[in-house]
């Protein structure tokens, strides 16, 4: 992975692409620094323990150069659920003011990064634009090496409570490397809903990176909804810092893509901080969905709760790799992890790896993981009541996914997610009747 012949390997082509990007001297130097570091480290490979389940060979033939935004149909967002509040649209990693909401909710500010990037920034901000402190430096470096745009979203202390901020990522082909910085002031609260779409089902690579900071007592509900097509590779990297008494929730719906991976790191830095993470990994057809989380309990009395459900169908593959780290001195930390996988077809495979790394004694940590087929007894119960075998299986599969879907607090989004899961099941109308 060290000696890279430029132009032939993904990394070599990446160097060529980075050299052609606009943005002036400062932006160029920043990208070059990231690229040099990435060239030295190499992209993650199958020998990396944390990447053993993700097949990055797909990157080999992919066009990594940042796409020049192609025009998209005006109704590109029509498939999304009804949205209140602010909508911010990125097309191939670039902010699109024309498609975004003009009038922002109270207390919210949206700063596009493209203009800011050309100048030298204060060190604290500069650090947030580099590799930052994600789980895996390399995806962040990939983003930083090709960074042209992004946005800084900031909610002031007096912002409208629980306001909805919808961020839509559209990819039309080639690479997209948007960077999101989100800051919630102390006491602020918001819902951030990210959608990932590939209109036209093009071959794409997206490596969106987000840095999120929650002030004291702030609350953020963060949804990540992957609806990309069957030729999309998506490597999301999210890093979150949570101050005292603040709460961060992440709800992941992996419903699309060829290879969709999320690396999520949450640091509970203040006393009483808490986080709740959940995800539905719908691995059907030949889709691969991987989730890796690292939750760090840095401060005392912090709590974390993770619930992940994987459904493996056809030749789908998926993995959950979740690590909870309790630092020295993080007494009274309370952590739970639950990972359940449902295998429906012989060709599907699901892996899970719930890990605990505990360096303090006064803690309560547990995890549970199960993998298997549908429960025969439950199936029998439904069959005995006259249900068709296919319908019974569909109903149980839906109920399995509902564990996670039920955590969605936005009604429109929840119905949308339910429909997406139903869409892949037989007897959808009947199940709709059941849940109505």
């Amino acid at each position: 992975m060290s000696a890279v012949a430029e132009g032939t390997t993904p990394l070599g082509r990446l160097a060529e692409a980075a050299a052609t990007l606009a943005g002036g001297e400062v932006a160029h130097a920043r990208r070059r620094a990231a690229l040099d570091r990435l060239l030295a480290l190499g992209l993650p490979g199958p020998r990396d323990d944390a990447w053993k389940y993700s097949n990055l060979r797909l990157l080999g033939r992919r066009d990594l150069a940042p796409a020049t935004a192609r025009p998209v149909a005006a109704d590109a967002l029509a498939m999304l659920p009804a949205r209140d509040g602010t909508t911010v649209v990125f097309l191939d990693g670039r902010f699109q003011p024309s498609m975004s909401t003009a009038v922002l909710a109270r207390g919210l500010s949206v700063t596009p990064l493209a203009a800011v990037l050309a100048a030298k920034l204060p060190p604290a901000l500069e650090a947030r634009l580099g590799a930052g402190d994600g789980i895996d430096e390399r995806i962040r470096l990939l983003n930083a090496a090709l960074l042209v745009d992004g946005a800084h979203l900031s909610v002031a202390p007096d912002g409208a409570p629980d306001q909805q901020i919808h961020v839509v990522h559209l990819a039309t082909g080639g690479g997209a490397y948007p960077r999101l910085a989100v800051t919630l002031a102390p006491g602020a609260s918001a819902r951030l809903i990210e959608y990932h779409l590939t209109p036209g089902d093009a071959e794409t690579l997206a490596a969106p990176v987000a840095d999120i900071e929650l002030g004291v007592g702030a609350r953020l509900e963060h949804y990540a909804i992957t609806l990309a097509g069957a030729h999309a590779i998506e490597l999301q990297d999210v890093s979150v810092r949570v101050a005292a008494d603040a709460t961060y929730r992440h709800r992941h719906l992996g419903l699309g893509g060829q290879l969709a991976r999320l690396d999520l790191r949450v640091r509970l830095e203040g006393e009483g901080a808490s986080t709740q993470l959940s995800g539905l990994l719908l691995a059907e057809q030949s889709r691969q969905i991987d989730v890796r989380t690292v939750v760090e309990h840095v401060a005392p009395r912090t709590t974390s709760d993770q619930v992940y459900r994987g459904v493996g169908k056809d030749r789908g593959r998926g993995s959950y790799d979740g690590k909870v780290v309790v630092h020295k001195g993080a007494m009274k930390a309370d952590s739970r992890q639950s990972s359940k996988n449902l295998l429906l077809s012989p060709g599907a495979s699901l892996d899970s790896r719930p890990q605990l790394e505990i360096n303090a004694d006064d803690v309560k940590c547990s995890h549970g993981a199960t993998t298997g087929a549908l429960d025969e007894q439950m199936l029998f119960y439904l069959l005995a009541r006259g249900l068709d075998r296919d319908i019974a299986r569909a109903l149980l599969t839906f109920a399995f996914a509902e564990d996670v879907i039920a955590k969605i607090t936005l009604p429109a989004l929840r119905r949308f997610a339910e429909e997406r899961v139903l869409g892949s099941l037989p007897a959808a109308p009947l199940i709709r009747e059941f849940i109505a």
């Binding site: 719930p354 890990q355 605990l356 505990i358 303090a360 995890h367 549970g368 199960t370």
Partner: protein, 482 residues
């Protein structure tokens, strides 16, 4: 939790009971490793050609390998050229004919360890193939086993007497290329135990070996091979203790178990090697590869281990479940105190239909110790109806220690059912209060709670081991709770 620091100091400051060096002349090869040393070992042991070649292949492969560093342990680099690879007690050219011929100093060593060879052997009905450094010096109950057709002998005897069996089975579960330490062991192993249970035989007694590390600076490279032929049954006990020493000693053993159709192997270990002093100086590096293969249908392999010793433990007794309906089990208690580091667990590889595995792991960390469970449950597409249950619990007894859990669950068959559960906590103050309030001392209360925590594993141990394990646990953890 009001134990005073000075009480703790006196309790934690306990000396390692089994620390002593028996002064016997050793026939030791100078430190260093190259092909000549391997040829010398092979010649000294009078090995056939195939075994020498096998060693050399392993050595050449080892040279291409890098030391693994993925385990959650830290240690200073090991200089493999500073180790002496062969050491045998002298005056052993003819081999002792009976217990009376055994060097009395040697017997005294076992005496101190609480293993009175002759007494224990007779009373407990246990045949002891005592391994002292690298050459077995005493074997009892050979005749009784011989009547049943069971072969239980030092590895070097097996090389001479049963080369065909060896050629067929050696390295068939742990190939020479398996991992860094297994390759090293394959190249330089000096002795160990060999067991063969013929078809349909239920071994008339529990087989047991005591491993000891004695001469300074000699790494031990034991090799154990157990073959249970169709329909046979064997229970094997392995117990260890080593003298006190300031320098780290490397121990890289390989254990291979092969269970053919309807065979049953139970392998129990109590490991109590020198863990280093309370400052983390010295102690054994225990880098062991243990693996069993349930090759035939309806076979069963069960690993039970109680790990209280060693400065570093790196050990994953595993089961490859190839035969239909075969069963793999792993029961483990790992205790780490002071600066001990343990990275231990198991691998269950489900290949055959309806294979089942159970994993119960109990980790206890105290002092500044790091204790990790690392396990893999892998269900291959061919393993229709496979079933696994895993439970791993950790108990934390100080604010400076660490307890980690790294389970890997990989399932490629939709009819499989795999369950994993893990908890980590410290001894409940309410439990402790309850015991203290009923008049128990803090030490007794902790012992009782810890025993309860480990009970599911201890009940899998053969009786005499269970008692030893219980005592060992109490000694290892004395003064660990504050």
């Amino acid at each position: 939790m009001a134990t005073k620091p000075q009480d703790l100091d006196s309790l934690v400051g306990q000396q390692y009971r089994h620390g002593f060096v028996t002064d016997i002349d050793s026939d030791t090869v100078p430190p260093g490793l190259n092909e000549d040393v391997i040829r010398l070992i092979s010649r000294k042991k009078g090995e056939p050609e195939f075994l020498l070649n096998w060693r050399l292949v392993a050595y050449r492969h080892w040279l291409t390998m890098r030391e693994p560093h993925w385990a959650h342990v830290r240690y200073a680099p090991i200089d493999y050229q500073a180790i002496s690879y062969y050491s045998a007690p002298k005056a052993n050219t003819d081999g002792p004919k009976s217990l009376a011929d055994v060097d009395p100093k040697l017997l005294a060593t076992y005496e101190k360890l609480g293993v009175p060879l002759h007494e224990r052997a007779r009373l407990a009905g246990v045949a002891v193939d005592a391994v002292f450094d690298s050459v077995s010096v005493a074997t009892t109950f050979k005749e009784r086993l011989g009547e049943a057709g069971v072969i239980f002998c030092p590895f070097s005897d097996a090389v001479r007497e049963h080369p065909a069996l060896l050629e067929q089975y050696l390295g068939s579960v742990v190939p020479t290329t398996d991992n860094f330490y297994a390759a090293l062991n394959s190249a330089v192993f000096t002795d160990g135990s060999f067991v063969y249970i013929p078809k349909g035989v239920r071994c008339p007694m529990e087989l047991s070996t005591y491993f000891r590390i004695n001469a300074a600076k000699t790494g031990q490279f034991e090799r154990t091979l157990i073959i249970a032929d169709e329909g046979s049954h064997v229970s094997y006990l392995e117990g260890c203790s080593a003298p006190m020493r300031d320098e780290n000693q490397l121990h890289a053993a390989v254990v291979e178990l092969i269970a053919l159709r309807d065979a049953n192997i139970k392998y129990s270990t109590v490991q109590n090697w020198y863990p280093g002093d309370e400052n983390g100086v010295g102690g054994i590096f225990n880098f062991v590869t243990k693996r069993g293969e349930c090759r035939g249908a309806n076979s069963r392999i069960s690993w039970t281990q109680v790990e209280t010793g060693s400065a570093i433990t790196w050990k994953y007794p595993s089961c490859v479940l190839t035969g239909e309906n075969s069963v793999g089990e792993f029961y483990s208690v790992a205790v780490a105190n002071n600066y001990q580091q343990a990275d231990t667990g198991t691998k269950m590889i489900h290949i055959g239909r309806n294979t089942k595995s159970t994993i119960v792991s109990k980790g206890i960390s105290a002092g500044h110790a790091q204790n990790s469970y690392r396990g893999l449950v892998k269900v291959l597409p061919s393993a229709e109806g496979a079933r696994n249950y895993t439970q791993c619990d950790s108990l934390l007894m100080s604010e400076h220690c660490g307890a980690h859990t790294f389970p890997y669950v990989e399932v490629k068959n939709p009819t499989a059912t795999v369950e994993h559960e893990a908890t980590t906590s410290r001894i409940g103050e309410d439990q402790l209060f309850y015991c203290l309030q009923r008049g128990l001392s803090q030490e007794d209360a902790v012992n009782m709670i810890v025993s309860g925590f480990c009970k599911t594993v201890f009940k899998e141990l053969p009786m005499e081991f269970a008692v030893e394990a219980q005592n060992l646990l109490a000694v290892s953890l004395e003064g660990a709770v504050g």
